[in-house]
Structure formats: structure tokens, C-alpha cells
Subunit: 249 residues, 2 copies
DNA sequence: TCGAATAACGCAAAATAACGCATAATATTA
DNA sequence: TAATATTATGCGTTATTTTGCGTTATTCGA
């Protein structure tokens, strides 16, 4: 195993678990604690983490820029993004929800795409602002802090006046019976509004969201036109969804 | 096997597995490690991969993310920011314009400040979204690409309905006769609206903006309450401004 | 303050890379 | 086609990097 691989492993584990221990890492990777310590020191120097007695923790918020957005499962999300590209066409009016899956997707959009895109996510708006031929409209309102999206009545009002061709929706939880659900009430309301304003609804999510539920219902599966996941469309896990009439790519 | 073929093989394998090892490649391709190393060096020079001890990994895509905002004269802007902190109080309703000076200022705001802040700048909103006690409202509208701010009628409409205590305004150009001016018409209109909606107007700019003009007028000096620069308030360059009745810190 | 856990240090062995060079393979030219 | 220039390859050697271990220093919690 290359050193660079180890470094990636450590960074990923740290992002997921918010802490790593020297001993665990040595065991995980099958090398001596000394080497792990050397790795941690290197990563510390590079500012990728903060070393503490017994292991390491994520960098303290002081130096951590809000602009460094951690994307988990980036590979899977890229897979989803590439598949979703086939749904894009010049001239579309698009609504994009927040979430890192959509953020990754945004980075993959062809440079010259001509489209009008509405979004209420700060990171996605920043990303999309680099495309010369995209008319970008940010839907303002009260900011939901952690997710960096706007919510509330202002958002609903704007959405109610839009008629979009397609909406790309990041999904927190999806279940064959409950349909789409969200942790936060306000976000669930916004997503409902998105769906009402769009001719087509695309749900994008990594396979770990499958068959999970949260408190607030967004819609049932019948509202969805297409599901995009990192899995093969023929995968058994998706069988049930296919039966419900949603197209799966 | 041609060298070009080998290079392709390496690139493909790297794309698939996110790592290649020198030894493995030598085995795969049935040639000496030396040649593999030479290949890797070539590919490294061409920027196709990153060479590491024991093999190679994909190039780190740190290439100019939209989230890497370049801040010129950061030191001066910090100076300005620290001075401006004295104008902040709990409970204020604040409007913040865009610009890197305000972005730097945003980073310096005390963690626990209680306030309501309106902004129409994406980077500033992202920065402010980390403060737990700030009610943050993003003013939506059409995005001005390069500056990452919203502009247009929607912004004006929202601004017209706000009554803020104070507005922190980044300044493109300031001149004793012309007052504040902007390069873009639309931004100048938005700034006019900001001023109308605020009890107090704070102009913040680095000294290189002094005595410069742009095409579109925002307001004359009489509209300003306070000027914050990196200079000493007693500096001769600021003499004229002081005479016009603006307070300078 | 002590004892256990963890980290840092120095070092030698192992792994990997770079260098120089002779030779083989390939391309170029007459 | 033969002669020649150019490039690529493998090998022996020498540098560099990485690693694990023994030892010593530091940190942590009781």
C-alpha cells in the first residue's frame, strides 16, 4: 500500500468518524504505529488534521474554511453525476436542490451548456456561477445554517411562480413505502414545492440512502420520474422501485 | 508493446484503481521497473498523474476550485475589518454588500454576535452561515457571475422592504467630488438601494481606491456616515474627506 | 506523584528511485 | 538495403526514502 493511499484512508476515516486512533489505524492498515504517527505528523504539517494524544481529530474550526466542503463517497456521487448528465439539454429550465450529490453533479456539467438554473444552495450557486451560458437565479430567503440552503416562506413563494422543465433533487432518505423523507420539516416543504414546480423530477442518491426513513415526508414514489444512483439499474435492490413505475438509470 | 500503449494502460489502471504501483506495473507489462519509472516520470511531467514513492496516484484536483477566492491586500483588509468591529453591536440589523473586504471582515466577526444580517453575496453568506447567533437572510435574484452577487429587480424589491441599522459597503472607487462610483450599472443601483434602507452607511475600502472613479455613480460623500480604511485616520490623504463631515476610523 | 500509555528520537535494514552506461530496438537517411 | 542516428531498455551501482525496533521522553489520568 502506498503512503498516499494511507493518507487518503486516514483522511476519509477522519471525515466519517471525526476521530482516528493511532492504534486502530495501525491495525487497520497493518503497519507499525510509528509509521502511522509519521503519517499523522505529515498530515498535520499539511494542515489536513489536528494531532492529539492517541490519534487525531479534524482541524479546529479556526483554520477550517467554510469553503472546504467535505464530500463523502465522492466516487459514487461522480458516478451518479455522470449518469445524470444524459438528462441535460440546452434550453432547459432547471431547479437544483442542495446537497453534495448535486454539488458534484454541478462540477460535471458541460462548460457550454445553455440553461436557466434556479437553486437555493450557496455552494451549488457558487459552483454554477462559473458557467458562461447558464442563467443562474438564486432563490433567496432565510439561511439554514449547516446545509447552506435557504428555506422558509420566501423560497416557497419564488418556487410557486416558477415552471421548470426538470428538477434535480438530492435525497436524504428513500423507502419503497414512505417514499422520500427528510430530517428537517422546512426542507421537506421546500422540496414539495420544487416538485410542484417541475415537469420532471429526478431523484439522485447514493445507495446507502436506500430503504431509510426520516421524520418528514416529501412525496411518494409516484411523483418521481427518474432515479439516479451509483448502482447498476438492474441491481436487485432496485427491483421494487422499478415496479413502482419509476425509470432508473 | 509500444510506449504509448503502456502509457494508456497506466492511465486506465490509474483511473480505475486510483493507484498504481511500480512493481505491479512492471509485472503486468512484463518490463523492468526502470522503464515503468521512466514512464511514470514522463506522465508526471505531462501532468497526467502524481508520482509518489512506490508508484503513482491521480492528480490532486486542487486546480482552481470556485471556492478558492483570491484576496488581494489581505493584510490591509484585515486592518479594516478589525477597525470595523467596533461598529458591531448585539441586536443590530445589518446589510452587507459583496467584495473581498467584506469577506475578510466577515471572518473577523465575534463568534457569538447576535444580529440579523442581509446579504446578496454568496461567499459572504457562506462565511456568515457559520455563526450560531446570526440570523442570516440571503437576498435572492439573478446572479452576477464573476462577483458572485445577486443583482436585478428582485434584489431591489427585497432591499426596499428592509430597514436596517447599519450597512457595511465595500467600495470600488471613491473620490472627493464624484463620491462613490461603480464599474457596473446594476451593482450601483443595488448599492443605492442599500443606502436607502440603512440608518447608517459604512464605506470600507483599501487606500488604493482613494481618488479613483468609475462609470456609475452610487452616491456622494454626504450619504456616508463612516469611512474605514487601512490608513491612520489622521493621514493627510483623508483630510478632504474629513472636512466633508464623514467620520473616519 | 506515580504508573501506564503514547510519542519522539536515533538508527540500521529494507524498499524504492535515480544515475550512468552498454546494448538492443527503432527510425532515418543515403 | 546498409549505414547511421536516435531512442528505449535493462543492469549494476549509488542515492534516497521508508520502515520497524529499541530506547528515551512526554503526556494523561488516577
Amino acid at each position: 500500500m502506498l503512503k498516499a493511499e494511507r493518507h487518503n484512508y486516514i483522511k476519509t476515516k477522519l471525515a466519517e468518524q471525526h476521530r482516528v486512533s493511532t492504534i486502530e489505524l495501525a491495525l487497520d492498515l497493518g503497519i507499525s504505529e510509528d509509521s502511522i504517527r509519521r503519517d499523522l505528523n505529515k498530515l498535520h504539517e499539511k494542515g489536513a488534521l489536528e494531532k492529539v494524544y492517541g490519534g487525531a481529530i479534524p482541524i479546529t474550526e479556526k483554520n477550517k474554511s467554510v469553503f472546504d466542503i467535505v464530500i463523502t463517497n465522492e466516487d459514487k456521487k461522480k458516478k451518479i453525476g455522470y449518469k445524470a448528465l444524459s438528462l441535460l439539454h440546452d434550453g432547459q429550465v432547471i431547479i437544483m436542490s442542495g446537497g453534495t450529490t448535486n454539488l458534484v453533479f454541478s462540477k460535471l456539467i458541460p462548460t457550454m451548456l445553455k440553461a436557466t438554473i434556479y437553486t437555493y444552495s450557496l455552494p451549488i450557486a457558487m459552483q454554477l456561477s462559473q458557467y458562461p451560458n447558464i442563467d443562474l437565479i438564486f432563490i433567496g430567503g432565510k439561511m439554514q445554517k449547516n446545509a447552506m440552503v435557504t428555506i422558509g416562506i420566501d423560497v416557497l413563494q419564488v418556487l410557486s411562480k416558477i415552471k421548470a422543465d426538470i428538477c434535480f433533487m438530492g435525497v436524504s432518505s428513500i423507502d419503497i413505502k414512505q417514499g422520500l423523507t427528510e430530517e428537517g420539516y422546512e426542507v421537506s416543504v421546500v422540496k414539495k414545492a420544487m416538485i410542484e414546480s417541475s415537469d420532471k423530477v429526478i431523484a439522485m442518491f447514493t445507495s446507502d440512502k436506500l430503504n431509510t426513513k426520516k421524520a418528514h415526508v416529501v412525496c411518494d414514489l409516484s411523483k418521481l420520474d427518474t432515479i439516479v444512483t451509483d448502482l447498476d439499474p438492474e441491481e436487485i435492490k432496485l427491483e421494487e422501485f422499478k415496479k413502482s413505475g419509476v425509470s432508473i438509470i
